[in-house]
């Protein structure tokens, strides 16, 4: 049956801000769905609170609502738009939960909106473990023994019957939030308590742990004619007990015989039918007991997932796009395979390569957090790599991570010790602990002579994978010992995936030497296609990976394209998501690619992050799924011989390659690498600032601790300290006293002349502003100015900001414009420039300049309706701003508020305090013509809903007390009940504000935590007093996060929230789409 003609308008729900467990893979699926539905001629209504997404680009959907993702907001949009159908299966768990609630509350029925893709019943059956288990037993499939419970007594009783370890999973949470494995009663009690708190339906599952079993996932698709295909099998290298998002995985499965695989395949198809997923994608996880092959179904997601994004990239089969088409009535056999063009989509991809995924963790950002990997996700991103063999793919994946690994190195782990220093006995103790860098420990243990069997036994990882690592370790030894690195040996190393730099290390030489040797022997990679069919049919889509093989890729469709065009340009992507560099940069890369294609350029994309839209083969003319290292990029340049290479959209990743690429003679488009360096290098930049006669905060550079103390005393406290090369403010601290500085010097990264410490005078009371500007070398246009709500000192990525500025005078804004223009000209900017200013009174200081697309470009673009990244791409390619008709910035007559979103609930022991080091994982946006409402929307979207009435708990540092008193008075007048601890309460009583005093934790029950646990608090305003790690404040903040109580930790944030609450009381929230904002 072709597309349904009874539907005209379809609503999609996005997944909201990036948090750990729900990342940009849902932007990928949502964007595919938007494009597919629009191509089919439907009017698409979209709701998503995340401004960094590509799907919320106003060109993607017809009606784009950047509004909080709540049931109420969604209902209001449905009421206003009256869509014929709602498609909830492409926006992750968030979208699914909202859809179920909308259906249950009768809202969908009321407005005649049909749920397509999956019905509410199906969703419940798949997600409710009891219903799921019943369904599985009906078709004869085994599941783990388990019980659903709502009380501690039941949990203890189950433990008595089945023993430990036990898995605890709260129902309906993202990425297993709040879950874990309990090995004893103490852990069980702790986890069940936390789980009951975090589950929206206050229910947890306690289950026998299948720890150590092999884990597999299958990605399936089904159409309404009951055709089912399996798109991909994925094998988790790490065994059960580690969340699949935390596991190294490989596709296709490597250790199953055909019979074992086919039984699993048949089981998955039967399960999908039994659950009743009518159309679209689903993901089913299995566990296999290694000694017996016993098969157990673990769980099922009746929607596209992180794994389906991986499966799409791994096979070339666009699951989300096909799912959207199936939801509107097509069957699989009516759709064609984009890549082969002649064969139908009703087939199962055949893979003739190996795909490896490795998660990326940023534990350094969460000091104190437990780094053991469990059933709860803690990784912030992932990389995927493609090679002809597992060995090659594994080594490519390791270097894709951009964490300094160029192979199976000895790496410093948590103890800050080189694992090569460990004895064999120590390694044996460490190996069973699943931790982020375990693969390196495995390699080291094998080097030290532990057998593959022993390692397999200690880690629970299938011996096949350990053997592969052993072969690499063995080959490293061969490389190290060989007298001469001859052509054959070098070839063998390259075909095993060894990087030039790893070979250089093993041979005691430089990467460049190996590169030159390779060129001398003419050892270059060949580029192979991801074609869905293992070469059986002609592939028309250039989706490529590199490998070292002797044969050429014989094809009738040339790799490099033949059509006439204006030039060939490579765009380097942003690599794995991490804190400080995420989806925002992918947004810029995608917009640049689409714009340049429209302009007639042949666009080549390079990236290695499977969650992204940029690695969708539809976005560019040619996609290289490759690591973003100098070696890999140079190989692509050698193959493609591009007219230009664009670096400024992918964040720091490509920028780091600017100078080395220039040295190799690669034409760089946009701002020159030398000018980039002038902006990035602190000393050089100071010269620029001096030359232009601008101000920056007084600073010093220390190469020894003693020097640091001297500089600090000269500048006067407070000061900001950080290592000289930082990303996302890593290891950056605000320091108030000499004692604090000493602690930092002892515990922070070591200082040397190679790694100097930057010390800035901290401007107290200053307002920080972010400017995104665009320059063609002549003209400079300001895309947007954002005012930060929090004071300078909170990392710009973590602070709440407002566009246009709300408290800065015209005089200062004019000055900011003038300085931006001056800097852009001086730095010869071609393309984007982001500058951070601090304004104190009439003084304007420059904090830093980034000669590239910034994290705020997508937000600025959406707040103003100007596609900044696209315009920048055209400027970089040679257009002038006058050509583009972009000669002055747009200042909107409504407010857009960007608020940061954190994933603190993932880390039990990490404190929740904003500081100079960025720790947020995502962002949301609130828009309204009223600033207070825009603020309230942003906070609601960030999971910090403001109460219209109720109880607010205030406890602030002494320095904030005067301001807190005024704020409390306003809150009291608005009718809120106030709670406070002794000091704050006294201050409020003195000012004649009614307040109830609450005991501190040490002062006996009921104390402040009891109030929070009992749900008596609607909002907490707490500004931290100092860095006391075990203070009451820290306990309370953690409790608030675990219990989901709104928490504000800065005075400025609280003042903004006050405006929000006032506005909420006056008029409720209303919804309006971007297209409406732009047209008025």
């Amino acid at each position: 049956m072709p597309r349904r003609s009874d539907l005209q308008k379809i609503m999609l729900i996005g997944s909201g801000p990036i948090v750990i467990g729900q990342a940009c893979e849902f932007d990928y699926s949502g964007t595919q769905a938007c494009r597919a539905l629009k191509e089919e001629g439907y009017e698409v209504v979209l709701i998503n609170s995340n401004p960094a997404t590509i799907m919320t680009d106003p060109a993607m959907a017809d009606r784009t609502y950047i509004e909080p993702l709540t049931v109420e907001t969604a209902a209001r949009i449905i009421e206003k738009e009256r869509p014929d159908a709602l498609l909830p299966t492409l926006g992750g768990q968030t979208a699914l939960n909202i859809a179920v609630e909308l259906a249950d509350s009768g809202q969908l029925e009321r407005y005649g909106t049909e749920l397509i893709g999956a019905s509410a019943d199906v969703i419940k059956k798949a997600e409710n473990r009891e219903l799921f288990k019943e369904a599985m037993s009906r078709i004869g499939l085994a599941t783990a023994k388990s019980v659903h419970l709502r009380s501690m007594e039941e949990a203890l009783a189950f433990a008595d019957r089945h023993g430990y370890p036990l898995v605890i999973r709260p129902s309906f949470t993202l990425g297993g939030a709040g879950g874990g494995i309990a090995y004893n009663e103490e852990q069980l009690v702790e986890m069940v308590e936390a789980g009951l708190g975090s589950s929206p339906i206050k229910q947890v599952l306690v289950e026998e742990a299948l720890t150590g079993w092999k884990e597999f996932e299958l990605e399936l698709m089904r159409d309404h004619n009951d055709n089912v295909v399996v798109i991909c099998s994925i094998e988790n290298i790490d065994p059960m007990g580690i969340h699949t998002g935390e596991s190294l995985t490989v596709a296709p499965a490597q250790t199953l015989s055909d019979l074992e695989y086919q039984v699993m395949r048949s089981a998955s198809i039967a399960a999908m039918r039994e659950i009743g997923v009518e159309t679209g994608g689903c993901n089913i996880q299995f566990a296999v007991e290694p000694e017996s092959g016993r098969l157990v179904v673990v769980e099922m997601n009746p929607r596209v997932s992180r794994s389906s994004a991986l499966a799409s990239k791994a096979t070339g089969f666009p699951i989300a796009k096909i799912a959207a088409r199936l939801a509107v009535g097509y069957t699989l056999d009516e759709l064609t395979n984009d890549i082969t063009r002649e064969t139908p989509a009703s087939f199962e991809p055949a893979i003739d390569y190996c795909v490896v995924k490795i998660p990326r963790w940023d534990f350094a950002k969460f000091p104190g957090a437990d780094q053991t990997l469990t059933t709860r996700m803690k990784s912030v991103g992932e990389v995927m790599s493609i090679g002809r063999t597992f060995k090659e793919a594994l080594q490519k994946a390791l270097r894709s991570l951009e964490q300094g690994y160029d192979g199976l190195m000895n790496v410093k782990d948590r103890e800050e010790t080189d694992s090569s220093l460990f004895s064999l006995e120590q390694l044996k103790e460490i190996l069973p602990l699943p931790r982020a860098a375990r693969i390196f420990t495995i390699a080291e243990a094998l080097r030290k002579g532990l057998s593959a069997d022993e390692v397999s036994c200690l880690t629970g990882i299938d011996g096949w994978f350990i053997d592969q690592i052993f072969h690499l370790v063995e080959f490293e030894d061969k490389l190290r010992r060989a007298g001469e690195l001859d052509e054959e040996l070098l070839w063998q190393a390259k075909s095993r995936g060894f990087s030039d730099s790893r070979i250089a290390f093993l041979r005691g030489t430089e990467e460049k030497v190996i590169r030159e040797l390779r060129h001398k022997y003419s050892i270059y990679p060949v580029f192979r296609r991801v074609d869905t069919c293992a070469g059986e049919f002609e592939a028309y889509t250039p989706y490529l990976y590199s490998t070292y093989e002797r044969g050429a890729e014989e094809t009738a469709v040339p790799l490099n394209g033949t059509e006439e065009n204006r030039g060939k340009v490579i765009i380097l992507g942003g690599g794995p998501n991490r804190i400080g560099q995420g989806l925002e940069f992918d947004y810029c890369c995608v917009q640049a690619a689409l714009t340049l294609r429209e302009e007639g350029y042949r666009v080549i994309m390079v990236n290695c992050n499977p969650e992204t839209v940029s690695t969708d083969y539809d976005i560019s003319d040619c996609l290289y799924f490759e690591p973003l290292t100098l070696e890999d990029v140079l190989n692509i340049c050698h193959e493609e011989n591009p007219d230009g290479l664009i670096l400024q959209f992918g964040g720091q990743t490509p920028l780091k390659l600017a100078l080395p690429l220039l040295e190799e003679g690669i034409p760089i488009w946009g701002t020159s690498p030398q000018d980039i360096d002038r902006a990035e290098n602190r000393r050089e930049f100071a010269l620029v600032v001096d030359k232009l006669d601008l101000w920056e905060p007084a600073y010093g550079i220390a190469t020894r601790p003693q020097e640091a103390r001297k500089i600090a005393e000269k500048l006067g406290f407070p000061i900001l300290v950080r290592p000289s090369y930082v990303l996302g403010g890593l290891a950056m601290r605000l320091v108030y006293t000499l004692e604090e500085l000493d602690i930092y010097l002892q515990s922070g990264p070591p200082i040397s002349s190679a790694n100097p410490l930057l010390i800035d005078k901290y401007l107290e009371g200053a307002v920080e502003l972010d400017v995104d500007a665009l320059s063609d070398g002549e003209k400079v246009v300001i895309g947007g100015v954002m005012e930060h709500v929090e004071q300078a000192g909170v990392h710009s990525g973590d602070s709440c900001c407002v566009l246009p500025p709300y408290s800065i005078g015209t005089q200062q804004l004019k000055e900011i414009h003038r300085q931006t223009e001056q800097l852009a000209r001086e730095l010869n900017i071609r393309g984007l420039l982001n500058i951070q200013f601090a304004v104190r009174g009439r003084e304007v200081y420059i904090l830093e300049a980034n000669p590239r697309a910034s994290r705020t470009v997508p937000f600025t673009g959406k707040a103003t309706g100007v596609p900044l990244a696209g315009l920048a791409a055209r400027v970089i390619a040679g257009a002038s701003l006058s050509d583009l008709g972009f000669t002055f910035g747009m200042i909107p007559n409504y407010y857009s508020v960007k608020e940061a979103v954190f994933s603190f609930s993932r880390f039990d022991n990490a404190d929740i305090v904003l500081g100079p080091e960025m720790r947020s994982t995502g962002e949301v946006m609130g828009i309204d013509s009223n600033l207070g409402l825009a603020m309230a929307k942003a906070l609601l979207a960030a999971g910090t809903p403001l109460p219209v009435k109720g109880t607010i708990f205030i406890t602030v540092a002494d320095r904030d007390k005067p301001q807190a008193v005024e704020m409390a008075r306003s809150l009291w007048r608005l009718g809120y009940n106030l709670l406070a601890t002794r000091g704050t309460a006294a201050a409020l009583r003195d000012a004649a504000v009614a307040v109830e005093e609450v005991k501190r934790i040490g002062e006996g029950s009921p104390h402040m935590l009891d109030y929070i646990n009992e749900g008596k608090v609607d909002l907490i305003i707490n500004t931290p007093a100092g860095s006391g790690a075990f203070s009451d404040g820290k306990c309370m903040r953690q409790q608030a996060v675990q219990r989901g109580v709104s928490l504000i930790t800065t005075m400025q944030g609280a003042m903004a929230a006050l405006d929000g609450m006032r506005a909420l009381q006056q008029s409720g929230m209303d919804v309006q789409c971007l297209q409406e904002y732009y047209s008025c």
């Binding site: 250790t255 055909d258 039984v263 048949s266 893979i351 070469g535 059986e536």
Partner: protein, 388 residues
């Protein structure tokens, strides 16, 4: 049992040369001994099931190139063979795994091949070879650890007569009629199978062995059928004398035309008892019903081929292994096409209700491949019980 063998002492790998009849040459290293073989070079895109493939008699006369790059990972075991011994002339893989890891493994693939003197070669750029065969078509080739000069080997390939004429079926068929009782191991029972799996008790099926895969026989035994395997040149009278309730025409190697001498027997059987043909058996049944055959450019070999079941419009994902095809459009009388390959529109199944026979070009017994079509054996049982 020998699980694996260490690399040859002295370390030198055994260089092996592959030369196709058009001069296309690749180098690799043998992982199973020495030798020189000739055959038709074909590729299979399945991602699992090397043990089933190398032991499938339909590959007799062929050098098999596996597109799945890593082979040998789970070894070989006592259940997954499709005949008593490896049947391929040679096996080409990208990377061979010497140390299998699986709870079911009994020995390594290399040891199995070596024992039967079959060349297994790794280090082959299997994708280049596949793309070449796809464009240039299936062709003859030679594989040698002995001859180092491609030109010399190319001359020998040119002299190789190919596999169109020889009696490959005669090589692989059973010599005498014999019963078959073995069922699939427990693990194979798919969840979708009817509760009452044993629906064919008291039925006697005679299987014409043109190179039958064990899984076909096991599929019948699983349903409770009594199975007798007979040599390919058994006459109709001899077969019918066994008083079968139905006759199955099995898969097998080579060009169906080379097997034309069995057509009279099939024609005699038709209409007397229900007949079910699979792969070569399907082609022979079709020929008996008046179809001609043609050779596909590079065949259908893999586990992901979509086939449309015409009666329901549904798509089946099938296991395929054939180089020849019946010519669609040549059906006559009551014979109707039942299945069509959705990639290239070729005929995948036919039936003649009047003559109570049906056949499929693909492999409903899977092994290797998806188990979507195992119900065809049940349909055969129904037909034998006069239900269909």
């Amino acid at each position: 049992m020998v699980l694996f063998r260490k690399r040859r002492k002295g370390g030198a790998a055994l260089q092996t040369l592959l030369v196709l009849e058009d001069g296309f040459t690749l180098k690799g290293e043998s992982f199973s001994g020495k030798g020189e073989v000739f055959g038709e070079v074909v590729f299979n895109t399945s991602m699992t099931g090397y043990q089933e493939m190398v032991t499938d008699p339909s590959y007799r006369g062929q050098i098999l190139n596996l597109t799945c790059p890593m082979i040998g990972n789970y070894g070989v075991n006592e259940y997954d063979s499709e005949s008593a011994l490896p049947q391929v002339e040679g096996l080409l893989v990208k990377e061979y795994c010497r140390q299998p890891r699986s709870w079911r493994a009994r020995e390594s693939l290399g040891v199995l091949l070596d024992r039967h003197g079959i060349l297994g070669v790794e280090g082959i750029d299997t994708r280049s070879l596949t793309l070449h065969l796809r464009r240039a078509g299936t062709m003859n080739g030679a594989l040698s650890t002995i001859e180092r000069d491609p030109a010399v080997l190319l001359r020998r390939v040119s002299d190789f007569p190919g596999i169109t004429d020889p009696d490959l079926v005669g090589e692989v068929t059973s010599q005498v009629a014999h019963p078959w009782t073995e069922r699939s191991p427990e693990i194979v029972i798919p969840v979708s199978r009817r509760e009452t799996a044993v629906i064919g008790e008291d039925l006697h099926v005679v299987v014409y062995d043109f190179g039958v895969k064990y899984s076909i026989l096991r599929s019948l035994a699983n349903l409770g059928c009594r199975v007798t395997v007979v040599p390919c040149r058994t006459s109709a009278a001899e077969a019918l004398a066994l008083k079968p309730d139905g006759i199955l025409l099995s898969n097998g190697p080579g060009d169906p035309v080379a097997c034309s001498d069995v057509l009279p027997a099939i024609r005699d059987i038709l209409g007397r008892v229900p007949v079910f043909g699979i792969c070569l058996g399907h082609q022979l049944l079709g020929m008996a019903l008046g179809f001609s055959t043609f050779k596909l450019v590079f065949g259908h070999r893999g586990g992901n081929h979509p086939v449309r079941e015409l009666s329901t419009g549904k798509v089946l994902i099938t296991s395929q292994n054939h180089g020849y095809c019946l010519q669609l459009g040549e059906e006559s009388g009551d014979t109707v096409p039942t299945h069509i390959n959705m990639n290239d529109g070729t005929l995948e199944g036919l039936e003649n209700r009047g003559l109570r026979c049906f056949s499929v070009q693909y492999h409903p017994e899977a092994a290797p491949g998806p188990q979507d079509s195992t119900n065809l054996y049940e349909i055969f049982v129904d037909m034998m019980q006069n239900k269909a």
